[in-house]
Symmetry: C2
Subunit: 545 residues, 2 copies
């Protein structure tokens, strides 16, 4: 392997390839693009989130010249504090993305460890041997940047997540002119979003959501509660606009919704009339037909506001007769079952529930097949490297390229950890390096000690303790908690530690008023540490009967 | 509650309402409609399938005058042997459905215990006080019957699963004339399929699959492997027709595929040219471009042929370069994650994979919104009782009815176990009875002793033993098996029974050549019974590293 070749390595990603972290490497220089998180699959009991295995860059930390974050969604920015803990390199991000980064870093007490450079579409930065031109792409969050990466081996165009929405919420479509300009220079490789490669046609514009919301709002006589992601800033704007059009006030509910909407508003990315936004208390005391609440929980997470409303266990407020709940976000694959269960529960409690099948209350933020072909035709790259999406999407993206004239040699589908090398205008696959993922357990802000990232190898040191609870509908234990541990070694004199842990679990269940899952994890972790000086990963599974 | 009222009670169903069993009751007479099974959700570890809790009819077994099965799909017929074990009443079914019933009953050694009456569309049977007119509806299996149930309280039209496909595979559309005739008589209540109530428009005809298959077949130069359900007889016909059109031979692969196709062919429901069908051995020795294999495993089940091909662990044959796999069935909700993982694995092993998003290789067997409205308008019932589907679908079906003029009083959404009563032309909801479900574990044909149905209460007697394995890619144990039990009581002297069980598990893993999951369950069950005289439910979870 030549040290003067350009290497492209998708590193992070669980299921999806290169989604959460990619490495561009030339000689003794590395540029990281994205530091995102993944959400656990169904068989990953109790895991909170997952970060890329970035051992490869940790071992080469002195070579890292910069970290580029293209936009503020969790799967691109969520792991930033884990990376900043290990790697000292300047971060490059657009203003809104910077806002999300700063929130995360300050929660992890790492804000003063990081150097962040604000970049805007149109700017150029030199990051090691790479001259990076940032250009605008439209996506479901403002300030998304594509990258024109000028390398000694040629120009690589990295699309990030994009679509060619002609009427995006912020009125700023993807930069066709810049893509054509790149094409004029000659593009070595296009590294492009494949998420919707199995969807024909063109993704509907965000604009259709305005009509969808209008329809819901005009048919609704009660309170409206919109569930979405806390990073979907464009959707906040659209819901606020709909509230305004229909003479309703709006309240953001929940920690992350409030925090992110405030940040986006302070930075000028949310345009909200002064008297539109009210506090939750005020909203709850108003005429229901004059109110919109916006909250998280669109994935049916049991401890989210939607999860609690569906079970009747929300503390601040309960469902009212005639409430309409709008799920305005996609269902993350694997969550279908729990989302539909939550919808059924909400219906059972008397709410109307509007979801994507019933009205245009969500559209994808990613290009579909015709847009992908347009991207290829605009950029005219020598090589196409499908990225973002599962293997089946990458394969389909490759098939689309072949339909419009690419040869087998000019498209390369690779998976996480696969090194792709460009030298003298030729593309070759090289060795495979670890490109997996690392589980992160329930440690949170406020946890004593540094933020805890446990890699798989560490499992064999401190092990894992699994607490399995069966609760009845009133939140009491239905039977004794079950505890199993694996790889968790404790001193010989502490044989009854499992019994003591069970007693501790019972105590927490009895006294917890709020987030039982989190309370259990925090208490049991402290307890086990005090007894064993080990920090096993603590998993809690709960079932209700 | 009057004993001279008509009662309608949806009994079985997990998530879906009234899908797997319904009760029609008048005075001291009960008619059961359907005896289906459900498939487990993600959090039901190791459960093979689930049957309706039919305690209500068991307690009234002397009142049961008949059991009507409307068609041969698993969610309508799969639990027949469990019901026949407990209830002695004549079964009514169309010829093909009878074929499926007989296969199940003979596997359970119950065929001589059951009286089965063959009925055809157009026939009328007296079942207790009910005069049941059977009429044809089109669905994704031939011989599906709707029911016109003449009761002392009035006529109830029970649609079963249906769609208004103008060009079904068997050329026999739903019986519009009969529906109009019912309407002329005056219909008290319409009990109708709600499965696709959140889908606009009209379900595409099965005919489009012919085009979809033609497209795939004409673009494929290698072997074609079609994955579907073993009860999807219409799909077998369509794949066979496509094979014939494109000059390929076809082999059915796997026990249930072979058995069901033979049965359907013997009964005249599969029209296969004499030389089209070949055995698997012959097929494997032919030129790959001349062969179609049809197998199960469209849900990504690890031990199905598709699951094994995706891991490279299939014994009879492996994937060939240029194999094309067609998933010609819907993904059961909750299975999305495992299905997509299997697709990715198949791609990784070099296969082309065609699934519903990529080509018209599957359509739903259920009516969509416009067809549901048509059904209501044809039948003109006084009351609508939405059935089949989750609560969200029933609610949406009710909303559709209100769009076309129904009042709140004339539509009643009920859930499993809710008694609905009709008396003097008035509909009322009455008491709620247990309408849940019962897990069935891995007991299979050939298991010594009677087929084992363990109800939830029984769990507290014999308990459950969970064996958790982590295997490496070559099928060896990656670490010691983990065993937890709950409610499983063993004699005091047998303290080390868990250790002995672990040794047994290791032994089975070392020697198993085939279906490890099943081998483990059978061996451990026998072992535990020999040691404890208890029959705990044995669950096995496997993970691969």
């Amino acid at each position: 392997m030549s040290s003067n070749a350009l290497k492209i390595i998708p590193l992070g990603g669980f299921g999806e390839v290169g989604k959460n972290m990619m490495v561009y490497e030339y000689g003794k220089n590395i540029m990281i693009v994205e530091t995102g998180i993944m959400f656990p699959e169904n068989d990953m009991l109790g895991i909170d989130y997952i970060i890329p295995d970035f051992e490869y860059v940790k071992e080469r930390k002195d070579l890292v010249r910069g970290i580029v974050i293209t936009h503020g969604h969790e799967d691109h920015v969520g792991a930033i504090s884990h990376i900043v803990e290990e790697i000292d390199a300047p971060i490059y991000a657009a203003p809104l993305t910077r806002g999300f980064i700063e929130v995360k870093l300050s929660e992890a007490n790492l804000l003063n460890q990081a150097t962040i450079n604000t970049v805007n579409a149109g700017d150029t930065e030199h990051i090691g041997p790479f001259e990076v031109e940032f250009f605008h792409v439209s996506h479901s969050i403002p300030d998304t940047l594509g990258l024109g990466i000028h390398t000694p081996e040629g120009l690589v165009v990295h699309t990030s997540d994009y679509k060619f929405d002609p009427t995006p919420v912020d009125g700023w479509p993807s930069d066709f002119a810049k893509l054509a300009e790149f094409s004029g220079e000659g593009v070595l490789a296009l590294v492009a979003d494949s998420t919707n490669a199995d969807k024909p046609g063109w993704t509907a514009s965000e604009k259709v959501i305005d009509d969808g919301l209008d329809e819901v709002f005009s048919e609704t006589s009660g309170r409206i509660i919109v569930a979405s992601f806390a990073s979907l800033v464009s959707r906040m704007q659209q819901v606020a606009d709909a509230a305004h059009r229909h003479g309703r006030k709006m309240a953001f509910v929940g920690y992350s919704m409030k925090k992110n909407s405030k940040m986006a508003r302070d930075l000028g990315y949310l345009d909200l009339p002064g008297d539109l936004i009210v506090g939750l208390d005020e909203a709850l005391n108003m005429n229901p037909k004059k109110v919109v609440l916006m909250a998280t929980g669109s994935q049916g997470e049991p401890y989210s506001i939607m999860g609690r409303l569906s079970r009747g266990t929300n503390r601040r407020f309960d469902l009212l007769e005639d409430d309409t709940i709008v799920l305005s976000s996609r269902t993350i694959p694997g969550n279908e079952e729990v989302v539909y269960k939550t919808i059924n529960r909400l219906f059972r409690r008397g709410a109307h529930v509007i979801y994507e099948d019933l009205a245009k209350v969500h559209v994808s933020g990613h290009a579909r097949q015709d847009e992908m072909k347009l991207m290829i035709n605009l950029v005219k790259p020598k090589y196409l490297v499908p990225m973002h999406g599962e293997l089946r999407h990458l394969k389909q993206h490759a098939a689309l390229a072949k339909e419009i004239g690419f040869s087998d040699q000019n498209v390369q589908v690779i998976e996480n950890g696969q090194v792709l090398e460009f030298e003298n205008g030729k593309m070759q696959t090289k060795e495979r390096i670890p490109g997996g993922y690392v589980f992160v357990d329930g440690s949170r802000v406020g946890d004593i000690g540094p933020s805890v990232v446990r890699e798989r190898e560490k499992l064999s040191q401190d092990g894992v303790v699994l607490i399995s609870l069966v609760l009845n509908q009133s939140g009491r234990l239905y039977e004794n908690p079950d505890i199993i541990s694996r790889g968790f070694v404790y001193k010989h004199g502490d044989k009854d530690i499992i019994e003591q842990t069970k007693a501790k679990v019972r105590e927490v269940v009895d006294r917890s008023q709020g987030d039982l899952h989190n309370d259990l994890i925090q208490t049991i972790k402290s307890f086990l540490y005090s007894k064993t000086k080990k920090r096993p990963i603590v998993l809690v599974t709960m079932n209700w009967v």
